[in-house]
């Protein structure tokens, strides 16, 4: 079966016909063409596909597109505005939180979800909030520094997370 899916994607209302068995990840990448969200594994083991659903970090590879009806979904493409990076993006950029970059959109969305809920996280809170994401390059130290820096930028009112 298919249905008309109506929801808010990156701040804008969206209407699409989606088959019931379409994953949110595939819908975003193939139907909408937003390829910032990555596929890193065959289901639930890497976090590369993390998006925010009503501000909560969610694995889009284990979410059916049809189940976000009426909700707000934010992907990494929603963060930068008018060419300016968001606080988290700026943090990852300045602190070298990204190497090959494949895991980065997932880490950035998990971090954005954390800062929206808890703008001044401790190092321990950052570590546990990123516990669903895997990175093969950085060794995580730089990623944690990036989120700490992002929290400072956000507190200084520079940009939204």
């Amino acid at each position: 079966m298919a249905r008309i899916l109506e929801f808010i994607l990156n701040g804008r209302k969206r209407l699409d016909a989606v088959p019931d068995n379409r994953l949110l990840l595939d819908y975003l990448r193939e139907t909408v063409g937003l390829t910032g969200t990555k596929t890193g594994c065959d289901g639930g083991e890497c976090g590369a596909c993390t998006v925010l659903v009503d501000d909560q970090p969610t694995l889009s590879c284990l979410t059916l597109a049809a189940s976000v009806a009426g909700k707000r979904v934010d992907t990494v493409e929603s963060l930068g505005a008018n060419g300016a990076l968001s606080a988290v993006q700026q943090g990852f950029h300045e602190k070298l939180g990204s190497q090959c970059g494949y895991c980065t959109p997932g880490f950035i969305m998990a971090s954005a979800g954390l800062l929206r809920k808890n703008p001044k996280p401790s190092e321990e809170e950052i570590r546990s909030a990123l516990g669903s994401n895997i990175c093969r390059c950085t060794g995580y130290v730089k990623i944690i520094e990036a989120v700490q820096h992002a929290a400072k930028l956000y507190a200084a009112g520079e940009a939204r997370p």
Partner: protein, 337 residues
Amino acid sequence: MEALSEFDLLRPTTLAGVLEARSAHPNSRLLGGGTDLLVNIRRGIVAPPVLIDVTGVGELRCMKADAHGLEIGACVTLTEIAGHAGVARIYPVVAQAAASIAGPTHRNMGTLGGNLCLDTRCIFYNQSEWWRQANNHCLKTTGDMCHVAPKSRGVCFATFSGDLAPALLTLGAEVDLLGPGGRRSLPLRELYIGVARHDEKATGGDGKNYLALKQGEIVTAVRARHEPGLRSAYDKVRIRRSIEYPVAGVAVALRRDGETLADLRVAITGTNPRPVLLEGTQALCGGKLDAGVFKGLDELVRDQIMSMKTTFTPGHYRRRVAGVLARRLVTRLFGQG
């Protein structure tokens, strides 16, 4: 992109709607957070023709934890359970178990119902379609032998790995079920029938047939009474600290009366085809917490924990880990101020 097998998705918003959908589609599966079921669908392990998403059913979202008791609806998420102040304060074993599951993003999605009914796991089962096919499948799917125990004669030893069940078992929890025949409640212990051949009291269940749910039945909630003075905690060992199932997980609840161990309950997951509430712990109570208690506990673990080689770690290692965790938790809880 590889398309998932074809299925229709139903999204009822009331329990009556769920029951109706269930009876109209006997081969349907319930969908909670999907962190277990959708992985298995993606890997071609199961291909249900209809999924019933129950996360929109308000009646399955109750959450109470106070000095009267604990009640958690099937669709409450693991994040909500772990973060609930009353659960953390009065039923710490449950909050700790919830907080230890998978990773934070998984916990935003995963539900109590899905965790209690979590499919059993095995290295020969949780694999892609081509991997399993190259290996001639196994009993739990379409094959005719068990690769873990080739002489098992039809018995599957896949391991139950949910973390909430052992925690709730130490609280003597009951589970509420709803099916075509109406409502019923069971001691949570009786929901799990995966005894498998090795256990003497075989009831027919194993790693394939591991739940006592009848056709069309669903879990609606779990409840436990508050027992004053009961101390409880959960701990588990895993390959890494997140995104990984337990090598072994142990829940302990005990009561200390002066210098006396007045009550002791120990439940273990990640080892057998069911979560095991150790039998015989009461006989260890009534005296001091001394070497005799630990020796007795080791014996109970040795006799009742039967880990087969269903994971990367050998079975005897998981059994030893379970025993060590149990000792540590008992020592810590007994010594707590």
